[in-house]
């Protein structure tokens, strides 16, 4: 009898897992975690950002286990993240204190503090570099020594200014009166990993879901917005990549003071402030243009995603029934990697009880139709 497709499961699973391991190791060479950490910064940054877990080593482990498949790697880290108790909450991090490594503005050529290109692929020619085939640890170390000597002499010239306190483009616009000031919102932010989302959502919740969103999904939706399936036309006010310091309050002191707090390390982040022009109607139909800000912030260097996030942030601030990209349920419910890939892949599961039930319905409705036709002929 043919009734084995979904039985004998225990044995089948064991064999399948063995087969999977074989696929991972069949070439006979192991990839070490430190090599993943050393050479796969882009993938690590993407995986950390979508997992919302900042740990390069764990990310490297997940990438190794997932054979480099980001969807699987994120899945592994998210599941691991669920088991971690929440012991501390950091002090508020002010992004003005970023140790900037890269900073550009598309809005101003001569931005106060200057444009800092930093490390970017933007101006590389996308030509396959066959020299990398021959790259060895020795050639890398030689290059590094030369690079450090060169850098050392640059730092000595000391014309870089203070990279820890660069002025923000938005502050300049505010001082020029082109951008309305905004009050600090000191409300306790929501936490989408601890409380299920309810609508209308808070902005803090929206930003969390956007920053955890699948890179491709966030990018595609934002692309749809600027191509016309949305109602805004943004420019990059400022994009920064750099290190942000994290401080914890002393656990035993009630009123945490900054000087009592502990510095526990830095993390790399990409921060984007998008400028979105908005026509506002003033007195007697007189129209003026003002700027609004869309905010993007991702762990690691994830520039496209951070820009896309800034676009969607502003879209969701302005609900618009004409465009799904301005509908918070549409955007927030569908960009999460673990949720979307899980539900799509669950279609692989057997559905034969439901199918049997559907067969029954179809047969009965056919009987009914025949009955009625017979009735008509009689």
């Amino acid at each position: 009898m043919g009734y084995v497709a979904v039985k004998g499961g225990t044995k089948a699973i064991e064999e399948s897992i063995k087969r999977l391991k074989y696929e991972r190791v069949k070439k006979g060479t192991a990839i070490e975690l430190h090599k993943i950490e050393a050479g796969m910064r882009g993938l690590i940054d993407q995986v950390m950002s979508e997992s919302s877990l900042y740990d390069q080593t764990l990310a490297a482990l997940a990438i190794k286990q997932a054979e480099g498949n980001p969807e699987e790697a994120v899945f592994l880290l998210r599941a691991y993240r669920s088991t971690l108790p929440r012991k501390h909450v950091s002090r508020v991090i002010s992004s003005e204190n970023m140790k900037v490594e890269r900073r550009i503005s598309a809005s101003f050529k001569d931005v106060p503090g200057g444009q800092i290109l930093g490390a970017t692929t933007d101006y590389t020619h996308r030509l396959l570099d066959s020299e990398l085939e021959q790259e060895s640890d020795i050639s890398i170390q030689d290059w590094l020594r030369a690079f450090q000597d060169e850098n050392h002499s640059i730092e000595n010239q000391d014309h870089m200014g203070d990279l820890n306190h660069l002025p923000k483009v938005l502050d300049y616009l505010r001082s020029e009166g082109l951008l309305a000031g905004c009050e600090n919102n000191d409300l306790q932010p929501g936490d989408v990993t601890r409380k299920s989302l309810e609508f209308p959502s808070m902005r803090s919740e929206r930003l969390q879901i956007l920053t955890r969103g699948q890179t491709g999904a966030v990018t595609s939706l934002a692309y749809a917005v600027i191509r016309g399936y949305g109602a805004l036309h943004p420019t990059v006010g400022e994009l920064r990549v750099g290190q942000l310091p994290v401080h914890l309050d002393h656990p035993l002191l009630d009123e945490g003071q900054e000087e009592d707090s502990y510095y526990i390390g830095d993390f790399t982040a990409t921060e984007v402030e998008m400028l979105i022009p908005l026509t506002v109607e003033k007195d007697q139909g007189k129209k003026e243009i003002e700027f609004e800000v869309g905010y993007g912030m991702c762990m690691g260097q994830n520039e496209t995603k951070a820009i896309a996030m800034g676009i969607l942030d502003n879209c969701l601030e302005k609900p618009n029934k004409e465009f799904p990209s301005h509908n918070e349920e549409f955007v927030l419910y569908h960009i999460d990697s673990v949720e979307s890939t899980g539900f799509i892949s669950h279609l692989k599961m057997p559905h034969y009880v439901t199918f049997q039930s559907k067969l029954d319905s179809i047969r009965k409705s056919k009987d009914k139709t025949t009955e009625q036709e017979v009735g008509l002929h009689e």
């Binding site: 109607e281 003033k282 007195d283 007697q284």
Partner: protein, 281 residues
């Protein structure tokens, strides 16, 4: 007091504003505004102190230009939007003694489902375009508690026939229908559970003249046969003249004139009404 003297619907001092108001427009006291709009804070005072009664079997017309607040008024009456303040009493609900605007969402829904019907200017708002026409009518009946398919089908067919929709098309979705037909399905739906109050919001606007005439005839016939009370909103004084017993004229959110329709047409008092009547002639 006889039943006939108790209004079927009574609205008192209905106010509806969009925006929070500010010190310039003096919130509801209306200091400095142009028309019904505050330039300082952008608040729109869409309805200002609207008060009227609707009597049994009466057709009450509300006329005014776009932006006069008449559609906002209709949305408020059907609870599509929440009012800023004011009272509304309906004879069939708690003996007409409870202010419906202060009642719970469930109670409001009860009144919508059992005591009112509404026909929207835009059929998309009044119909589910991807459900069958008979299903659209059944929705209203189900809301009012009906759980018998046969009786709903019969009632639906009867109503569709009354509004001149061929019975063999009753299982079709209204999105396949012309504008006039969609409007007639909406009317059938609104009438399905014999509501004592029918709200008609610009029901003929945007239809061809001949279709307009047939829809107006239909309403007139139904009103006569069912003796239903109707609030009818239109910017078109011609429609008002044909159907309304009594008329309110609205401008900038306020009722500026009211009276018997004939009286308003023949002897308009307010300069705006005079202008309106003049343009009709």
């Amino acid at each position: 007091m006889s039943v006939l003297e108790v209004p079927v619907l009574s609205v008192k001092q209905l106010n509806k504003q969009y925006g929070n108001g500010c010190s310039t427009c003096n919130y509801m006291k209306l200091g400095k505004v142009t028309k019904n709009y505050c330039h300082e804070c952008g608040t729109v005072y869409a309805c200002r102190g609207v008060t009227f009664d609707l009597h049994h079997g009466e057709v009450l017309g509300i006329v005014g230009e776009s932006g006069s607040g008449k559609s906002t008024l209709m949305k408020s009456l059907y609870f599509d939007e929440e009012v800023t303040d004011g009272d509304m009493y309906v004879a069939g609900f708690e003996d007409g003694k409870k202010n419906l605007f202060m009642e719970s969402a469930q109670k409001k829904r009860f009144v919508r489902n059992h005591l009112m019907g509404k026909v929207y200017q835009n059929p998309i708002l009044g119909l589910k375009m991807n459900f069958s026409s008979i299903g659209n009518i059944a929705e209203k009946l189900i809301s009012a508690g009906n759980r018998h398919v046969g009786s709903m089908e019969t009632r639906g067919a009867e109503l569709l026939e009354a509004v001149n929709i061929p019975i063999h098309r009753m299982k079709e979705e209204p999105r396949n229908f012309s504008g006039g037909m969609q409007q007639r399905v909406q009317i059938a739906k609104a009438l399905s559970n014999n509501p004592p109050i029918l709200l008609l919001d610009e029901v003929t606007t945007g239809l061809d003249l001949s279709v307009q005439a047939s829809v107006l005839d239909l309403i007139k016939g139904l009103q006569r046969d069912l003796n239903i009370s109707i609030v009818l909103v239109s910017h078109d004084l011609g429609v008002i003249r044909m159907l309304a017993d009594r008329t309110l004229v609205m401008l900038e959110g306020k009722v500026i004139e009211q009276g018997l329709t004939d009286q308003i047409l023949e002897d308009p008092q307010h300069s705006y009404t005079q202008q309106l009547v003049h343009s009709l002639l």
